[in-house]
Amino acid sequence: MAGLGVLIFIVTICLLAPIYAHNIAHTNPFASNIQGSTFINGKRVMLLQQNTQGLGFGVTPIGPTWNFSHYFLGADDQGRDVFARLLYGGRSSLLIGTASALLCCIVASILGLIAGYFGGPIDWLLSRVFDIIWAFPIYLLAISLSVVLLTSGLNIGPLHIGAGSLFLPILIIAAVFIPYVARPLRGLTMSLREREFIQAAIGSGSSDLRILWKEILPNAAPSVIVFFPLMVAFNMLTESALSFLSIGVQPPAASWGTIINDGLGLLYTRPWVALAPGIMIAITAVSLNILGDGARDAFDPKAKLRGSI
């Protein structure tokens, strides 16, 4: 419950990002504000301040004001409100993590159930595809796909996804993790297929589709439900890694990974720009893992899943 509570809190404040940005901070977190200024302690200060020490090189954004009404966590190198971007970035990270986990679980469930139920050449073919995908270091595969697709987008027949679309990281992350979910589901399905109630259904003349839908899926569903929060956390971490490497969410859109990347160049002078999204990722991932563990205990306490996050 604690994990769920924290998660709900994070999701809620992220969903409220537009309200915070427009009504409280009065800022546009996607527009650069290089020459902008704000008031601190009644004094107007530039958001990006020219160094006046030594040789006078360098410009540093203002640090945290710890005042929710403006620049709570300070400004980034574009003069943007870091806290407002943090909330917007959470929307992207959570959206990508959730959507890719959903897509991954759906596709993996279909493929895992088909492979496990039909066996034979279909199982062999799907299993080899899983093996091939899983043989690549997962981040390397995701990075490779991102680099290729980021330059030209995805064009398959009438389907066109632009290079800057959030659907690209969703698709990429979902695709690379399909074997992670599908392989245990395949094994589970193979086990279920030998059970008496499935044999009875086959003997009674039920169609394969009906057996899969009415008999196998309901028994495999708890495993998928347990997988889901774990995959959200996994995928969110992957998204952050890709965005940190500039091959995930593309600016001016923000995700927690892109904000960390933005903060990398300010780590020495303004560490909060990178630390804040890092902390948010950690809290969210931990709460999702706790939620996943709770779901496992609730739905399938005897399940022997492949590792945990």
């Binding site: 020219q50 330059t151 800057g164 780590l267």
Partner: protein, 566 residues
């Protein structure tokens, strides 16, 4: 590549290259040698450790076009001519290197006669001969030197070499082994030819050097150092050339370190820390912006700041929407706040706004800022209202625009700022960040349909043609090629004709020539708004406290071989 393209060509030499004269000319004072570096043997020895985040590409001196390696090539290779190895403005002067003297120029400026020095050996022990000189000039075409089609296209026979590089034979290069004479015939007089020969592209290599890009395999040279090993993933090692003896300190002085290493795969942040801690001597990469304040306060005596003739700019593709519309290009020029870009770069002490293609202080530059309200000679700031009106007038409002930039901190930040501005004036702008290893070639290739990008140009030599002709003439636009340095794809035949006239004028009347280059600058930028010029940067070098004898060349920037580590 990290767009530190260096080119420099000799202004003083050009001014003395009078058509029809047959006199030996020199751009170097008679006391050149006495003004060269004085070698101090007590500081010789040790290992110099340079840091770079990535390798600089091929080690072939006739192919590589990066400052990162030109800094090393100048100590490893020699041509018939070289740039004067001194600090200050004189470092742009051309001096004889493997040639005994500056060339005798005859035949109305079309024939250059050199005499090759005797007794010089390559690092592998083989003697340098006139046949090596001829083979090296022909090799420029065989390895598809980036400037073979521009700088060296005027050599008699070059046309055929450009058409069929593999069988290149330059009939215009005549050598005589018995007298060690090398005669180079040009189709037309070229005021910049001596400078072009003095760059690393003009290096004399063994005739046995491969007829293709040597990649990671070092080619023997004649300089004070040779390349011992090169692994682009780890490091590059240079050692003293055992066959090197100083023949001209002005052209190739003795170096100090026994070994020069360039280590790759560090981040700029860690590089700075290593230099701070004396674990390395020099950071090649641009210093991280968040360290500038600290460095300028704490390590002021280890920072060296030098004015550059360079430009950061945003070329707009004049052949595809929305920037095939002149009003849209003007709108971008009105909208971008150059002072904001300067601020991102590190502040007004490290960069200055620029409105023209030719940077301030450059031959042919005239102060002019046409795209501001009111237009004036100095930059006064953006005019967003005017920009929005122009976008609306152009009918391009709402167009999707992708800005392609490199993914390092400063470039990414400038690109993000520009995208924000484009969004404000009515476009749907995004930023596409690519690795510096591929971005520069990517934005040149028309197949990638790049609308607007962020890039830089660093002069090779102080001639207006190095910017205007190299970057904006029809001959430099090659659709479908990764080597199409005219990134905007701008091609105007009448302006090209004016460029040809200006080049000719530079030989007989540099004042008139520079005036014409200025007019061309106005016609291209003021009349067509092909680029959005941003600012001219300064070079900041950070060396460790244990490193001495910092010397800066206008051509090669810091002389790595002159640094003391003892």
């Amino acid at each position: 590549m990290k767009k530190f393209r260096l080119m420099r060509i000799v202004g003083a030499f050009a001014a003395t290259l009078l058509v029809g004269s047959s006199a030996v000319t020199s751009s170097v004072p008679a006391s050149a040698d006495s003004s060269s570096f004085t070698y101090q043997p007590s500081h010789a020895g040790g290992t110099l450790k340079l840091l770079a985040s990535t390798a600089g590409g091929t080690l072939d001196p006739q192919v590589n076009y990066t400052l990162q390696y030109w800094q090393l090539f100048q100590a490893s290779y020699d041509g018939l001519l070289s740039f004067h190895k001194v600090s200050g403005q004189s470092s742009f002067d051309v001096v004889p290197d493997l040639a005994t003297a500056l060339p005798i120029v005859s035949n109305g400026g079309k024939t250059y006669t050199f005499t090759l020095r005797k007794g010089i050996k390559f690092s592998n022990g083989a003697p340098v001969t006139v046949n090596d000189v001829k083979a090296s000039l022909e090799r420029l075409f065989k390895v598809s030197n980036p400037n073979a089609g521009s700088w060296y296209a005027g050599i008699v026979g070059a046309t055929a070499c450009l058409a069929t590089p593999a069988t290149c034979t330059l009939s215009g290069v005549v050598v005589d082994p018995s007298t060690n004479k090398v005669v180079i015939n040009l189709t037309t007089p070229d005021a910049e030819f001596a400078d072009q020969l003095a760059t690393p592209f003009g290096s004399v290599l063994p005739a046995t050097a491969p007829s293709k890009d040597s990649g990671t395999t070092p080619i023997p040279g004649t300089g004070a150092y040779y390349f011992k090993s090169y692994n682009p993933n780890t490091k590059l090692v240079m050692l003293r050339n055992p066959n090197f003896k100083v023949w001209s300190a002005a052209a190739q002085p003795q170096g100090y370190p026994d070994e020069i290493d360039q280590v790759f795969s560090n981040t700029p942040e860690s590089e700075v820390t290593m230099v701070e801690n004396n674990q390395a001597n020099f950071v090649f990469d641009p210093l991280p912006s968040d360290r500038l304040s600290q460095l300028s306060s704490k390590y002021a005596n280890q920072l060296h700041v030098n004015t550059l003739t360079a430009i950061w700019y945003m070329p707009m593709n004049v052949n595809i929407a929305p920037f095939n519309n002149k009003l849209a290009r003007e709108a971008v020029n009105y909208a971008i706040d150059k002072n904001a870009a300067v601020k991102i770069f590190g502040g007004s002490k490290l960069a200055s706004p620029v409105c023209t293609i030719l940077p301030p202080g450059f031959p042919g530059h005239v102060d002019s800022c046409p795209f501001q309200t009111p237009a004036g000679s100095t930059y006064s700031g953006p005019d967003l209202a005017k920009a929005k009106a122009l976008v609306k007038q152009s009918g391009t409002s709402g167009a999707a625009v992708a800005i392609v930039a490199t993914n390092d901190t400063v470039n990414a930040a400038v690109a993000q700022y520009a995208a924000s501005v484009l969004n404000q004036i009515g476009y749907k702008a995004t930023v596409k960040l690519l690795s510096a290893n591929i971005q520069f070639n990517y934005i040149q290739n028309t197949k990638n349909k790049v609308q607007i990008s962020l890039t830089q140009w660093y002069q090779d030599y102080p001639q207006a043609s190095d910017f205007l002709k190299i970057l904006l003439s029809c001959s430099q636009f090659h659709p479908g090629s990764d080597n199409s340095i005219n990134i905007s794809g701008f091609c105007n035949k009448s302006i090209d004709a004016e460029m040809a006239t200006a080049s000719t004028d530079m030989i007989s009347n540099p004042t008139a020539g520079n005036a014409l280059w200025s007019k061309i600058d106005q016609a291209i930028q003021g009349g067509n708004a092909v680029w959005a010029p941003l600012f001219t940067p300064k070079q900041i070098d950070f060396v460790s406290s244990g490193t001495g004898n910092y010397q800066f060349s206008k051509e090669f920037y810091m002389y790595v071989d002159q640094l003391w580590v003892k």
